[in-house]
C-alpha cells in the first residue's frame, strides 16, 4: 500500500514538474522582442523601501528615472508601468504593491483614462503575466480580459502559448528560469533621439467625457491611497503624442480640485522642465529618451520632495550601497547604448 502511494506520488510530481517545465519553455521570454514584457515581474526584485510609486502606461516607464530622483534628491522610487496599462490594471498594480510595501506617494499618469474597456490581449499579457499570483492578480485578470480571452489561460499560460513550440529559439532554453534585467527600478532607458518635426493635428473626438468605469477606478486609487495614508499625485506625462485634449485635461483638473489632489500636466511646464522635443525624445514625441526622462525627474523631484513623508535618504549606509549598485547598472547600460548608437546609428538592444 505504501509502495503504491509512493509510486503514485512520484508519478504525479514528475507529471506536474514536466508540465511546469514545458510551460516555462513555451512562455515568451521578452528578451529581443517586446522587452517591456519583463517589467511587471522585475518589480519584485526592487520591492521594498520605495517612498514613491509610479503607476501607469509607457508614459511613466519611459519618462521618469528613479536613479535620477535618487541622485538629485535622495528620493527612493519605483515605477510599475507597463505598455498600455489600463486604469483598472493601475489600480491592481497599486494593490499588489501594497502587499510588499507602502510608499509615501503614488503618482498616477492619467493618459490611459481614454480607454474604458479591455483593448488587446497582447497588452494584457505584458501587464498581467508577470504579476505574482494573489487574489489581486486574479481580480486584475478578471477586470482586464477581452471577450476572446479565458481566465484559465492565465492560470496555465501553456494553454495560451503552446503553439510557440515551432518558434522556440536558444533564448527560450537560456532564459528558462531567469531573464536579463531590463529596467532601472522600472525605468526603461533609451539614449537615442528622434526629434519631433511635425506633429499631426489632433483628431476631434465625438465625446471627450471620461466613462464611468474610469472614474470608478480613479476613485478606487484615490480611496486606496487615503486608506493607507498615501499622497496621490495625478500627472499627465511629457509625451506630446497621442494628443492630450484640453477637454480631458479640464476633467482631470476638476477632479483634482474637488478631491484636493495635486495634478501636474508636464506639457504645460515645458519651460520649467527644460524638455526640448528636438533632443529629448527617441520616437518623435511619444516617449522621452534618457535626457528627457532625467529632465522630467529633476523637475518632478522638486514637487516630490515637499510631499509628506518624503525625505532625502542619502546617508543611510544600506540604501547608499543598494542605490550605488543601481547607479552602476544604469551607467553601464547608458554606455552600452551609446556605443551601439555610435557603431550602428541605432539602439537595437536595450541591454
Amino acid at each position: 500500500m505504501l509502495k503504491k502511494f509512493i509510486r503514485v506520488t512520484v508519478f504525479l510530481v514528475i507529471l506536474v514538474a514536466s508540465l511546469w517545465l514545458l510551460q516555462r519553455l513555451l512562455v515568451p521570454k521578452y528578451i529581443h522582442e517586446n522587452e517591456e514584457g519583463v517589467l511587471s515581474a522585475e518589480y519584485y526584485d526592487n520591492a521594498g523601501d520605495n517612498d514613491v510609486l509610479f503607476i501607469g502606461d509607457c508614459e511613466v516607464y519611459s519618462n521618469f528615472s528613479p536613479i535620477k530622483l535618487w541622485q538629485e534628491y535622495g528620493i527612493t522610487s519605483v515605477i510599475r508601468g507597463t505598455p498600455q496599462q489600463l486604469i483598472w490594471q493601475s489600480y491592481y498594480m497599486l494593490e499588489d504593491t501594497l502587499r510588499y510595501e507602502t510608499p509615501k506617494v503614488v503618482v498616477y499618469n492619467v493618459f490611459s483614462m481614454r480607454y474604458d474597456k479591455p483593448q488587446n490581449e497582447a497588452y494584457n499579457r505584458l501587464t498581467l503575466d508577470g504579476m505574482r499570483w494573489s487574489s489581486v492578480k486574479s481580480d486584475a485578470i478578471k477586470a482586464s480580459m477581452t471577450e476572446e480571452e479565458s481566465y484559465i489561460s492565465y492560470l496555465f499560460p501553456i494553454l495560451r502559448f503552446h503553439s510557440r513550440w515551432n518558434e522556440l529559439t536558444g533564448d527560450d532554453l537560456k532564459y528558462l528560469f531567469s531573464t536579463e534585467k531590463l529596467s532601472h527600478n522600472g525605468y526603461v532607458m533609451r539614449v537615442d533621439t528622434k526629434p519631433v518635426e511635425v506633429l499631426p493635428e489632433p483628431i476631434p473626438q465625438a465625446d471627450y467625457t471620461y466613462s464611468d468605469i474610469d472614474w470608478e477606478y480613479l476613485d478606487k486609487i484615490r480611496d486606496c491611497c487615503k486608506e493607507h495614508g498615501i499622497t496621490l499625485i495625478l500627472i499627465k506625462s511629457a509625451s506630446c503624442y497621442p494628443h492630450w485634449y484640453d477637454e480631458w485635461d479640464q476633467q482631470i483638473r476638476d477632479y483634482a480640485e474637488k478631491n484636493d489632489l495635486t495634478y501636474v500636466n508636464f506639457l504645460q511646464h515645458q519651460d520649467e522642465t527644460g524638455i526640448d522635443y528636438t533632443t529629448d525624445t527617441y520616437d518623435a514625441g511619444l516617449h522621452l529618451n534618457l535626457s528627457g526622462a532625467e529632465k522630467s525627474s529633476v523637475y518632478f523631484g522638486k514637487i516630490l520632495k515637499d510631499q509628506p513623508g518624503i525625505t532625502d535618504r542619502r546617508g543611510d549606509a544600506e540604501l547608499d550601497a543598494k542605490w550605488q549598485e543601481k547607479i552602476e547598472f544604469y551607467d553601464s547600460m547608458k554606455k552600452s547604448q551609446e556605443k551601439q548608437l555610435e557603431e550602428t546609428g541605432a539602439v537595437t538592444s536595450f541591454r
Partner: protein, 188 residues
Amino acid sequence: MKKLKVLALTLSLLLAATACGSKDSGTESGTAAQASAGTEASKGSTEAATEAKEAAADGLYFQKGDVKIQMDAPADDIIKALGSYQSTYEAPSCAFDGMDVIYTYPGYEVLTYTKDGKNAISGVVLRDDTVSTPEGVFIGSKTEDVEKAYGTKAEEGANNLVVKKGNCELLFIFKDGVVSSIQYNLAQ
C-alpha cells in the same frame, strides 16, 4: 495507477490536440505577425483587396481624384496613387504589431496600420472644405445635408452622427448646426 496513466495520457493528447487544432493559436503576440507574414501576406493582400471591393459595392469610401480609399484596403498603392504628401508621422501601433502612419495631404489625412505585415487603410480625416465625401458633404455642411445625403437622422441633442456600412464607420461631428469634422474609421 492505471487510471493515473490514462489521465496523464489524456492530458498530453489534449494539449497536443489544442496545439494542432487551434485556429487562433497562442503564438507570442509580438511575433505572430512576423511568423505569418511571409506566407500570409499575399493571401492577406488578396483578401483585403476583395474586402475593399465589397466595401466599395457597399458605398462608404473617400475619393480623391481617381483614387478610391476604402477602409482596410492595401495602403501602399493608394498612397503612391495619391502622389506627394505634405508630411508623415509614424507611431507604434496601438494594435500591437507594426506602425501606425498618418499621411497629411492638402485638406485631408490618410491613416494606415500594419495588417498581416502590410500597410492597410485605417482611416481618413477631412480637415477643411476643399474636400468632400462622394455624397457631397464637407466641413461646413449643415446637419440636414448630412441626414439627407445618408438617409439617417442624428439623435436628438447629439453632436455627432455615425453612418456604418460594411467595415467603415463614417463619423460626422457637428458644432452649432454644421459639420465640424468628418472621419472615416475602420469599424472595430
